[in-house]
Symmetry: C2
Subunit: 124 residues, 2 copies
DNA sequence: CTGTATCCATTGGGATACTG
DNA sequence: CAGTATCCCAATGGATACAG
């Protein structure tokens, strides 16, 4: 028997079938900002503006959408501090924290193999 | 000093800045099929049709584009076997193999936390 | 079998301005 | 400060048919 998926009742070898949870996760992170946001929240809660500044290039609209998506998936929490100038903090939920490690693995890979995936041809 | 990026000369804390290699990798896998293709090739070379069947739902056009993108990034190799009915095999390059582990980490996370990210509200 | 060519719908995402 | 509202473009990706 091979790796199984959601139903756990297939003939196997459908690890990448329509029902595999991988699909869900991929749908979640398969966009330009989600993983970056999680990374930005990795060490401490951040305010909207802080995240925006950290993720150079993200516009408020897009950041807002990303934040909501992650919140809906329960990966991050949104905390409002009643104050005159609005103050909101985003933080990883315990669930979100568990995603940090796998994502860090990806980041490490990225840093280690940056040169290899560039389109610079190797000395051949 | 914190984690650094491409240039390695920033003031730090720009791990998610415009120049971070994470961006490149994310651009590469931030789509519906790339990681699935890599996973499908994980154990053995596969033919176009085989990959297509395995990744339920992918259309030839999209699969072709994905394959080319990955090939251009040197994560997979494309081998043509001269034969009457065309025969082409796709396989992971050594570089591609190194991505398997981090990706598997993500897959494991997906399988372990499937229930948590669904939008089913918890018993609150 | 292995793709490519079209056509088309959706949407992610960028820019900017504006409001509570 | 924290977002929302528009406008708009480009790209992803789905369906289908067709070609080497």
């Amino acid at each position: 028997m091979t790796v199984m998926c959601r139903t756990g009742e297939h003939d196997a070898h459908d690890v990448y079938g329509r029902l595999c949870p991988c699909r869900d996760v991929l749908d979640l992170i398969a966009n330009k900002w989600s993983t970056l946001v999680i990374g930005a929240l990795e060490n401490e809660p951040q305010r909207f503006g802080a995240v925006q500044r950290r993720l150079e290039g993200v516009t408020p609209k897009v950041l807002s959408a990303t934040l909501k998506r992650l919140e809906a998936s329960r990966l991050i929490d949104r905390t409002v501090f009643p104050a005159v100038p609005a103050h909101v903090e985003y933080s990883l939920t315990p669930l979100g924290e568990t995603l940090v490690a796998p994502l860090a693995g990806l980041r490490r890979w990225a840093e280690e193999h940056l040169d290899d995936i560039g389109d610079q041809p190797d000395a051949d």
